[in-house]
Amino acid sequence: MAPEPSDADLTRLIAACGTGAVEAEHSLFERYAARVRLFGRKHLRSDVAADDLVQQVMLRVLEAIRAGRVADPNKLASFIFGTCRHVSWDLQRSEQRQRRLERETELLGAESSMPEHSERDVVLLMQCLAELPEREGRVLRMSFMEDRPAEEIAERLGLTSGNVRIIRYRALAKLAFRMDPESKP
């Protein structure tokens, strides 16, 4: 199987062919859209806004490549990240964001609350959660299963909220690793 073309290969191809390099543009979209979407979910806190971000960022990136404005094709990831950050700031400032959130809330209300999942995953998750040290398991349960804020958990467990936050992300990483030990710690 031929190796996937590098970012630099794709960039040069798109720059040379303009709108004619459809496959190269598609490959670039496939490679980066999910990363931009993750950034959007984190910073814009809305799936609808994250999808908007993907469209705007990828469009700007492709236009920049076609116009030869990407100075170093080997640093395309950094260029996309920079574009993503700027567009995200614009979206956050935009008044339209509030309207999108309202629209999404309406959509959410119409959805089932139970997403599709594998039952095998549920068993594995319960086993791995039970194997965590008691305090870590409690912090994860209170945080994610019971939606309690760090301040309340801290009060219940006799910790500072800063400690709860540290325990929470460490325990989450530990749980993710136990769920998939092949991955990096």
Partner: protein, 178 residues
């Protein structure tokens, strides 16, 4: 830059990294498949934790779920039993356990099977003092868990003096086959 750990990915996702460190992580994952997959795994994990395990529900969560999906609910008094039947079209239920909770500050929950084997135990669960209720959710996919169709659930008040029994409940569930 060497790859950050999963801990860093989790801290970023939860908004616990200082701004400059968060930006460094973001720029890194844009160019790193492994770290991007790592942070996606953490994100999926938080969603699974929130939706898939047997949680004790807060009143607000119960109201929210009931407004979104068909929710089977059965009330059960201390010493009594109650049964939930879940199907593909009605996959979420709640056992509403009643107890005298006035003045109680902490409730611990423990579920055992008919042989006394511990299935799960949750310390310091949410409860509704006003209504005197503890809400235990039951979902169709729990059929994959090693649980008997009959749970023997104990609620205890936990305090410095060792606590007291608030109630014992026999919670039965029937699931449609996959």
């Amino acid at each position: 830059m060497s790859c950050p750990t999963l801990e860093t990915a989790a801290a970023w996702l939860l908004g616990e990294l200082p701004t400059d460190e968060a930006e460094r992580f973001e720029e890194h994952y844009f160019g790193c498949d492994s770290c991007f997959q790592g942070v996606l795994r953490i994100e999926r994990l938080t969603m699974r934790l929130a939706t898939k395990l047997p949680p004790v529900l807060t009143r607000n969560r119960h109201v929210e779920l009931a407004s979104r999906a068909r929710l089977e609910a059965v009330h059960v008094a201390p010493g009594q039993s109650a049964s939930l039947r879940l199907t593909q079209t009605s996959s979420l239920g709640v056992w509403i356990m009643h107890a005298e909770l006035a003045g109680v500050e902490r409730v611990d929950l423990e579920a055992r099977d008919a042989n006394g084997r511990l299935l799960f135990a949750y310390a310091d669960v949410p409860f509704d003092v006003e209504r005197g209720q503890v809400l235990l959710a039951c979902q169709l996919h729990y059929r994959a868990l090693p649980m008997d169709p009959k749970l023997f659930v104990h609620l205890r008040e936990a305090d410095a003096a060792g606590g007291r029994e608030l109630g014992q409940y026999i919670l039965e569930h029937q699931f449609d086959s996959p």
